[in-house]
Symmetry: C2
């Protein structure tokens, strides 16, 4: 069973964290290859990345794809998220953990930015 | 003349800032309503938001649309970017400055996340 974990930084603003959880619920309703979609946070708020991975495993995942919900390749993307995933991998050597490129790294981003800059009401 | 300013946080990693500038250049090549597209940064690196706005005005803009390149509505989006734009507005009262919702706020985000989580090579 292949599951998706959307990983955000985590904020002291509850509404900001809730928006990430809501996104995970929305992605879960879309057509994709994942049986489960959940969110986790690098800092500040629970679940942490290892906790999020454990939740998915307990719910049956044997493969977890991690999508860093970050726009730029700062330290968090380059070092911190991979370190957290490595911790989880060590605890669960039989589970296939894969980190995708961070959201901002997609070739589609110029088109997404262009769409966001030109609302249909404009 | 309507111009777009893509505003990112700014990073100590030069490659991260360059990726934002590159995005601005890419968006400039797409079909949209903007005569110019440039980038600016809230912190750490130049140009600042007021500087970016001034550059666009000097190049002929009388209307500048500001797109916050942020995923979540933290303090930067809620307070800091608007404060910088307000400074620029005070200095240039005849220019129409408009802040768009931040990138993560678009209704399209669940679909974008789903696309990023399911690369076509998969």
């Amino acid at each position: 069973m292949k599951s998706l974990l959307i990983v955000a930084h985590g904020s002291r603003r509850a509404a900001s964290n809730e928006s990430v959880s809501k996104l995970a619920r929305q992605v879960a309703t879309l057509d994709n290859q994942f049986n489960q979609v959940q969110s986790a946070f690098l800092e500040i708020v629970e679940p942490s990345i290892p906790e999020g991975i454990i939740r998915l495993i307990k719910a049956g995942a044997d493969e977890v794809v991690i999508l860093p919900y970050f726009l730029t390749a700062g330290r968090h993307v380059v070092e911190d998220v991979p370190a957290e995933v490595a911790k989880a991998q060590e605890q669960h050597p039989n589970i296939n953990l894969q980190i995708l490129p961070h959201l901002g790294d997609t070739d589609l981003m110029p088109f997404w930015l262009n769409a966001a800059a030109s609302p249909s009401t404009d």
